[in-house]
């Protein structure tokens, strides 16, 4: 087995567990409380990553500020999205909500076309088409 495959499979497994954990917790506590209680654990893991960081890039200070600002914004958007995700899980099945919410790169692609001028590849168009069909089927 390739050296990188184990951690990739662990990541897959833990994300899968997180989906289940999110559903169980969402049925017991509010999305707001869930988001608040998610924070300490995530920060602990971030601290671990920060201690092991190997920052090789010699970015200019201004570039780093842009990077940090965008990473911070990612966290804010992610946190708000987490709460609506928990709310969806409160009222919907995990077996449907989790696969649907992993379709978010579809929105990223649309935003990338509008704001970054990127082009969508054929494979991604297929993904978007299948994602829309899946939403129609599961939402109907």
């Amino acid at each position: 087995m390739a050296y990188w495959l184990w951690p990739a499979l662990v990541s897959l497994g833990v994300f899968g567990l997180w989906g289940l954990q999110s559903k169980v917790v969402s049925e017991r506590i509010s999305p707001t409380m869930n988001q608040i209680l998610t924070t300490p654990g995530l920060l602990a893991m971030a601290l671990l990553l920060w201690l092991r960081r190997e920052e090789s890039s010699q970015s200019l200070a201004t570039h780093r500020i842009v990077g940090i600002g965008n990473a911070f914004l990612t966290g804010v958007l992610g946190a708000v999205g987490n709460m609506t995700f928990y709310e969806a899980l409160r009222h919907g099945k995990a077996a449907i909500v989790v696969p649907l919410t992993t379709l978010y790169p579809m929105v990223t692609l649309a935003l990338a076309v509008v704001f970054l001028g990127e082009k969508i590849k054929a494979r991604q168009w297929t993904g978007i088409l299948l994602a829309l069909i899946a939403i129609l089927i599961l939402g109907g």
């Binding site: 990541s11 077996a95 494979r123």
Partner: protein
């Protein structure tokens, strides 16, 4: 439209936005450092929520511990992803592979939560997972 679906669509918009900001962040920072700042942003958001909302701390220790484990799981899922990429795994393979995780959640939800899917829903879930893998490729 069912309420849960509306919430799913709102989630797609917010998380979809993170795809752009994450890309802009990692143009200037390593993925690890970007993740650290992503997590730091949770502090003001959660602090704001804590003060703005009237949170009732009447949950059992078990429920609180289970909720606390969410952040740990998110971190524990992300960390090996970085390791896989740093060990030479190609992003074009590793990221779509990890994008299969909803399949595991579906199986766990069926096994442990007693959820059931009809044939139409199975088709939708299958298409969503295939779409997720296709969309996760650069």
């Amino acid at each position: 439209m069912p309420y849960w679906l509306l919430m799913v669509l709102v989630t797609l918009i917010f998380w979809g936005g993170t795809g752009i900001t994450q890309k802009l962040a990692t143009n200037h920072l390593s993925s690890r450092l970007a993740f650290v700042w992503y997590a730091i942003a949770f502090i003001p958001v959660s602090s704001g929520l804590l003060f703005a909302s009237q949170v009732k701390w009447d949950y059992s220790i078990g429920t609180t511990a289970l909720a606390l484990s969410g952040g740990l799981l998110l971190g524990l899922a992300t960390l090996p992803l970085f390791v896989a990429l740093e060990r030479g795994g190609k992003a074009s393979i590793v990221v779509p592979l990890v994008a299969l995780y909803p399949l595991l959640t579906v199986l766990l939800a069926l096994a442990f939560l007693g959820e059931q899917l009809g044939s139409r829903q199975w088709l939708g879930v299958f298409l969503a997972i295939v779409a997720g893998v296709l969309l996760s490729q650069e």
